[in-house]
Amino acid sequence: MDSRPAAGVASRSPAKLPTTCAITLDLNGAATKLDVAPWTTLLDALREYLDLTGTKKGCDHGQCGACTVLVDGKRINSCLTLAIMHDGAAVTTIEGLSKEGALHPVQQAFIDHDAFQCGYCTPGQICSAVGLMREGRAKTPDEIRELMSGNICRCGAYPNILAAIQQAMKVAEGSVKP
């Protein structure tokens, strides 16, 4: 990190560790209070303390994308960030995408195109695709592939994932009815 040798190893000061800290998340549209330890990742906070197990823990190192959620509208790896850092932030998980019982167009497109096999990467793929569409940078199939490269699918459902995202983009443009 910097020029200090092995930061934090040499002098373990007897710091008083707060066991938990109160934070509030705007979680899937609802103000949600919870107490977290400083070392609780956003992913663990969602899964272990808020019972939102739709967001998956794959590699836990930011290499697979299964933990992708939207924070203030942007897709991030929830495994590589601390919940305590997001006090006050808007967090959207796979559970928060449907509106009034209707699937989000990306969710519907994944079903229509059978864009999964085992389904473990799917919540991350879908949240990532929602973020991708908001960014508006991917137009061509190659650009979609490149900008979805942070989501690994071990079953190899990539062709159908691509087709699903293309359909969802057309729905968003209004050229195809959901």
Partner: protein, 331 residues
């Protein structure tokens, strides 16, 4: 991950004071590398100082025609910034060649400079590593070293700096602005990162009480003749085996200024200004490019698994120059 305490810094001065007075404290911003290192027990800070709410998140035009990137601007917001895309497309391309969209949405520009090597032995606390635990030895020199350095190595460490963004910043002669308890400093990019030498645990020349506040880009952006070529094991979302940032100024077919920076080959983005000068005033031909490539890898040293990088680097230099001069259409 070890337990630790957490505080949130409200201004730069207090952030600096916090790490200057507690050597067990480290800054956290995007966290994409630090949290990973903490999960692996490579980093074990007693205290995290969250700097994400400091007012260092803007990109501003400078009076001299340059551009200032706040240290907390995300990699995504930098790569897609209108000024960066138009005037410094080399930087935009390099950033977008690294990591994934999710990581780029979190990772900050200052943090990109401070990310640590992805050497497998550095990450594996069961093995000796002079960078992680000085004096224990280097497991890579006689181990699996396919990803490792061929230039500027020492008998203590052959790790490479993993950044793409920094390769472009090196070619652009960026300046790193830092603030510490003793005041402000401006560090030329070439002097920011270090070679391993006898102290591979020290990655940079940033002081223990200093924080990066911004990265300044000089006015010259090389927007007309540039290329960022990244060679890796898969098409996307992988670290470079070799990468080349080429930035040229041309008058017709004549090169008037050439900058070349290499990634994936050394402990820091690699520049060789003597070799770059070989291109000044010459007509762009493949023969010239090969001579420059040869000059840059002349002192390169392989360690077995990574020896292929010597030829690869030379060829990547030639190809990047062909792209930058448009002798070859960009891939």
């Amino acid at each position: 991950m070890n337990s630790f305490s957490y505080t949130r810094a409200t201004d730069v001065a207090s952030a600096v004071h916090e790490i200057a007075t507690d050597r067990a404290a480290v800054f956290i911003a995007g966290g994409t590398n630090l949290i990973d290192l903490m999960k692996e027990n490579v980093a074990r800070p007693d205290r995290l100082v969250d700097i994400t709410r400091l007012p260092l998140n803007r990109i501003e035009e400078l009076g001299d025609g340059g551009l200032r990137l706040g240290a907390l601007v995300t990699n995504t917001d930098t790569a897609y910034n209108e000024h960066v895309e138009r005037r410094y497309p080399l930087l935009s391309r390099a950033i977008l060649a690294g990591a994934s969209p999710q990581l780029r949405n979190m990772a900050t520009d200052g943090g990109n400079l401070l990310q640590r090597t992805r050497c497998y032995y550095f990450y594996d606390t069961a093995t000796p590593c002079n960078k992680r635990e000085p004096g224990t030895g280097c497991s890579a020199i006689d181990g699996f070293n396919r990803m490792h350095a061929i230039l500027g190595t020492s008998d203590q460490c052959i790790a490479v700096h993993p950044s793409d963004m920094c390769v472009a910043l090196a070619a652009l002669n960026a300046v790193v602005r830092v603030t510490g308890e003793r005041g402000d400093r401006a560090i030329p990019f070439a002097d920011f990162h270090r070679l391993p030498g006898e102290t591979p645990s020290v990655d940079t020349n940033l002081g223990a009480d200093e924080i990066i506040t911004a990265i300044d880009l000089p006015a010259k952006g090389f927007a007309d003749h540039y290329a960022y070529l990244k060679v890796r094991d898969r098409t996307s979302y992988a670290f470079a085996l070799v990468s080349v940032a080429a930035a040229l100024e041309m008058d017709g077919d004549t090169i008037t200024e050439a900058r070349l920076a290499l990634g994936g080959v050394a402990h820091k983005p690699w520049r060789n200004t003597d070799a770059e000068a070989m291109l000044n005033g010459v007509n762009a031909t493949k023969d010239h490019f090969e001579a420059v490539g040869e000059a840059i890898v002349r002192d390169a040293k392989g360690f077995g698994h990574n020896t292929f990088k010597i030829v690869l680097a030379k060829r990547a230099i030639v190809r990047a120059l062909q792209y930058a001069t448009r002798m070859e259409p960009k891939a």
